[in-house]
C-alpha cells in the first residue's frame, strides 16, 4: 500500500477521531496554543511598538529586536527554553509551558517591528492636522496612528501567526501535544501513514492560517486598488520626515 493511501487511511479511520490522541483533540490543542501565544505576544508587542513609533524614538531598539528574531532558529529557542523551564518553573505541564514561551518569543519581533514601522511612517502633516483639531497625544495615537498603521500591523500578525503555527509542531518534541504529535510519533514508530497524515494536517493548517490573514489584510486596507503595501506607500509621503 502506498504512503498516501496509508495516510488517507489514518485520516479517515474512525478510531483516530476519539479521545486524547484523536485528530480533533490534537488540532484543537494546536489552534489553542497558537491563539494563546499570538494573543500574549500581541499584548506585549503592540503597545511597545505603538509607543516607540508614536514618539519616533528608540527605533534602533525595535529594529534590532525585529532582526534578531529573524536570525533565531525556533528549534534552538525551544531547546534553550525547555531546560530553563525544567529548572525554574515548576508549574503545569512542562512541555506546554516551554512551547508557549518559545512561541511568544518567536511572535513578538515581527509584531513589534511592523507596529513600530507602521506607526512611525504615518504622515507628519496628518498628525499636525489632528493636533490642530485639538486631539491629545493619546487621541492621535488611538484615532489616527493606530488605524493608519493597521494594515502593516496585520501584516506583522500574519508573519507571526504563520511562524507560530509552524513552530507549535516542535512542541511534540518536549512531550506537549498538538499536530506535531503525529509527526514525532510517526517518526519514532516508523509509521509512515501517521507521519504523512500529520505532515498534511500541519501544512493545511499553516496554509489556511496564511490565507485567512491575507483576507483580513485585504479587508482592512481601505480603498484597495492594489496590495496593502502599495496602498501604504501611496498613503505616506516620504519627504515629510527625512530617512
Amino acid at each position: 500500500m502506498g504512503v498516501l493511501a496509508k495516510a488517507f487511511d489514518f485520516m479517515t479511520s474512525a478510531a483516530n477521531y476519539h479521545g486524547q490522541g484523536g485528530i480533533p483533540t490534537r488540532l484543537w490543542e494546536h489552534v489553542q496554543m497558537s491563539l494563546l501565544s499570538l494573543g500574549i505576544a500581541t499584548i506585549i508587542a503592540l503597545p511597545v511598538g505603538l509607543l516607540v513609533g508614536h514618539r519616533r524614538r528608540g527605533g534602533f531598539f525595535a529594529i534590532t529586536v525585529g532582526n534578531l528574531g529573524r536570525a533565531l532558529p525556533s528549534f534552538g529557542i525551544l531547546a534553550i527554553v525547555f531546560p530553563l523551564t525544567l529548572r525554574y518553573l515548576h508549574v503545569g505541564s512542562l512541555g506546554f509551558v516551554a512551547t508557549l514561551i518559545t512561541l511568544i518569543l518567536l511572535a513578538i519581533p515581527p509584531i513589534m517591528l511592523n507596529t513600530f514601522v507602521g506607526t512611525r511612517e504615518v504622515d507628519r502633516d496628518t498628525i499636525e492636522a489632528a493636533r490642530g483639531m485639538g486631539l491629545s497625544g493619546t487621541q492621535i495615537l488611538m484615532r489616527v496612528e493606530l488605524p493608519l498603521a493597521a494594515p502593516l500591523i496585520v501584516a506583522g500578525l500574519r508573519t507571526a501567526a504563520t511562524a507560530v503555527v509552524a513552530t507549535a509542531t516542535l512542541g511534540a518534541l518536549v512531550s506537549w501535544g498538538g499536530l506535531g504529535r503525529f509527526i514525532v510519533d510517526g517518526l519514532a514508530q516508523g509509521d509512515k501513514g501517521q507521519l504523512v497524515a500529520g505532515a498534511v494536517l500541519v501544512a493545511s493548517l499553516a496554509v489556511v492560517t496564511e490565507a485567512m490573514f491575507a483576507l483580513l489584510q485585504r479587508a482592512i486596507s481601505p480603498r484597495t486598488t492594489g496590495s496593502p503595501r502599495r496602498h501604504i506607500r501611496k498613503l505616506i509621503r516620504r519627504p515629510g520626515w527625512g530617512m
Binding site: P73, G76, L78, A79, I80, A166, L173, K192, A199, A203
Partner: protein, 225 residues
C-alpha cells in the same frame, strides 16, 4: 522524569563538556556549512532560469510565486516528515526541503533586481547592438547583482536556521546538539547548538555582504560621489 532530575544539579553550561567534544563540534559546524551551501547553490540553480523566465514572461510570474509561496508556508518539520516517507532519512530528504525554502526568496529578489535596472541602460545597450543574451549577462544581471545578493543573504541565513531542524531526520549539523540537549534535558548541548548556529548565520551574512561590496565596486563609488 529521571532524566530531568539530573538536570537540576548540573550547571547551565558545562564548559568541560565543550572542551571534551571539540572534534565533534568542528565536524558538526562543517556539516552545517555543507548542508547550507549545497541548498543555496541548488536553490540558485533552480531559481535563476525560473526567475529569468518570469521576468521575460510576466504572466508566468503569478503561478511561480504562488507555488513557491505555498512551499515556503509549509512548516519545515511537516515537509521533512512528508519527504521521509519517500526518500528516507537521507541527505536528499534534507536538501529537497532546504532547497524548496530558498526558491521564493531567491526568485523574488532576482526578478525585483532585474525590474530595477534603469530603462536607459537597457536602451543604450540595445542601441549598441547587444543581443538579448548579451543584454542579460553584461548589463541586466550585473546591475541587478546587489538585489540578487541581498536575496542570497536572506536565503542563506534562513537556511542556516532550518538546517537545525533536519536533526530530526538524523542530519542537522549544529542542530544535532540542539536535539541532543532537548532529548536528554542537557542544556549545555542545546545552548551550544543554538548559539553556534546564530553565530554562523551572522558570520556568513557578513561574508556575503563583504563579497557584495567586492563584486559591485561601482555601487560604492557612486554612493561616495
Amino acid at each position: 522524569m529521571t532524566v530531568a532530575q539530573g538536570s537540576f544539579q548540573q550547571p547551565l553550561i558545562l564548559w568541560s563538556w565543550i572542551g571534551d567534544n571539540r572534534a565533534e563540534i568542528l565536524h558538526r559546524v562543517i556539516e552545517h556549512v555543507e548542508l547550507t551551501a549545497i541548498a543555496v547553490f541548488l536553490g540558485l540553480l533552480i531559481s535563476f532560469p525560473l526567475a529569468i523566465y518570469a521576468y521575460r514572461h510576466r504572466r508566468a510570474y503569478g503561478p511561480i510565486a504562488v507555488i513557491t509561496g505555498i512551499l515556503y508556508t509549509i512548516p519545515s518539520l511537516a515537509l521533512f516528515a512528508f519527504l521521509v516517507a519517500y526518500t528516507g532519512l537521507t541527505v536528499t530528504t534534507a536538501e529537497i526541503g532546504l532547497v524548496s525554502y530558498t526558491l521564493l526568496i531567491l526568485i523574488r529578489n532576482i526578478v525585483a533586481g532585474l525590474d530595477a535596472v534603469p530603462a536607459e541602460a537597457r536602451e543604450s545597450a540595445t542601441g549598441m547592438g547587444y543581443s538579448r543574451r548579451q543584454l542579460l549577462w553584461r548589463i541586466e544581471i550585473p546591475l541587478a547583482l546587489p538585489v540578487i545578493i541581498a536575496g542570497i543573504r536572506i536565503a542563506t541565513v534562513t537556511t542556516i536556521g532550518l538546517v537545525t531542524v533536519t536533526a530530526i531526520i538524523g542530519k542537522g549539523g549544529l542542530g544535532h546538539f540542539i536535539l541532543e540537549g532537548l532529548l536528554q534535558a542537557f542544556p549545555t548541548a542545546a545552548i551550544l547548538g543554538a548559539v553556534l548556529s546564530i553565530v554562523l548565520a551572522v558570520v556568513v551574512d557578513a561574508l556575503l555582504l563583504f563579497s557584495e561590496r567586492a563584486l559591485t565596486p561601482w555601487a560604492r563609488a557612486r554612493s561616495r560621489a
